[in-house]
């Protein structure tokens, strides 16, 4: 199965990593280069709007 990862489009692989699975409150630092631009913490979930809508419907 590992080899199959290499055949998948990178975008699809990252979509599964970032937009699927169980959401646990977490934190993230958004950076460009070496500059930290934004810190998201405590109960903020990093997700796109569509994902938040889907989650809130459940």
């Amino acid at each position: 199965m590992t080899e199959e990862l290499e055949e998948l489009p990178l975008l699809e692989t990252l979509d599964h990593l970032l937009d699927r699975g169980v959401i646990i409150a977490g934190e993230a630092v958004i950076s460009i280069g070496d500059v930290d631009l934004l810190y998201l913490g405590l109960n903020v979930v990093l997700a796109n709007v569509d994902a938040i809508i889907r989650t809130s419907k459940r």
């Binding site: 199965m1 590992t2 199959e4 990862l5 998948l8 489009p9 990178l10 699809e12 692989t13 990252l14 599964h16 990593l17 970032l18 937009d19 699927r20 699975g21 169980v22 959401i23 646990i24 409150a25 977490g26 934190e27 993230a28 630092v29 958004i30 950076s31 930290d36 979930v45 990093l46 997700a47 709007v49 569509d50 809508i53 889907r54 419907k57 459940r58």
Partner: protein
């Protein structure tokens, strides 16, 4: 050091030596230790975590935890994940030999994505965005073919509107039927050459783990 949590597993051996195993209750979290100042949005890190997920899935199915959760050790893992453990154990026990496959299909009909600038309030915009997503549909003949070819091979299946441009069919399938499922995907491509779709997997428990809240 902090550890990026990747998944929840039944056994330590399902994780090691590919990733770090963090005991929480009677389960284990797989994790990747990184420096405290490591930005989580780093592209190479994301690709590395995706690779670890794939290698662990070779060993056994696990509950995927959405990227972004970090812990400093077992006690923080227990604090953040403790309330989920009983449900994860149930899922892992039931689906240890199953994986997910996803069929992402381009929409045949859709409503344009609403323009945020046309809304005065965020809630109003979110409702319009949701309505646009729900209005998405795929070609009925393709959907019927997908259900005829793929659904009988799955233990569970679920259609979901992911955005205003595509629909997705998630399938929970037995590992020993993966070849049959892939062959059905090829047949679907053969009989529906004009419908753009991506059939991908195997994936860990993502859709079905996320939805199985009680």
């Amino acid at each position: 050091m902090k550890s990026i949590v990747i998944g929840a597993h039944l056994l330590r051996d399902d994780i090691e030596p590919v990733a770090e195993a963090v005991p929480v209750g009677d389960l284990f979290l797989s994790a990747l230790p990184v420096a405290d100042d490591q930005p989580l949005g780093d592209r190479e890190l994301l690709i590395r975590v995706a690779g670890i997920r794939a290698r662990m899935l070779d060993v056994a199915t696990f509950v995927a935890i959405r990227y972004g959760l970090t812990i400093a050790g077992p006690s923080e893992g227990e604090a953040k994940c403790g309330s989920h453990l009983w449900r994860w154990r149930k899922l892992l026990t039931a689906h240890r030999d199953r994986v997910e496959m996803t069929l992402k299909v381009a929409a045949a009909t859709s409503r344009p994505r609403p323009d945020r600038r046309e809304f005065t309030g965020g809630a109003e915009y979110l409702r319009a965005l949701h309505a646009a997503t729900q209005a998405t549909n795929v070609d009925p003949a393709f959907r019927a073919a997908a259900e005829r070819l793929l659904v009988p091979l799955a233990v569970e299946h679920r259609w979901s509107h992911r955005d205003e441009r595509s629909l997705e069919l998630a399938l929970l399938v037995d590992r020993d039927r993966l070849d049959d499922v892939r062959a059905a995907g090829e047949e679907l491509r053969r009989i529906s050459p004009d419908v753009p779709f991506l059939f991908s997997g195997p994936w860990p428990l993502e859709v079905f783990a996320d939805d199985d809240r009680e």
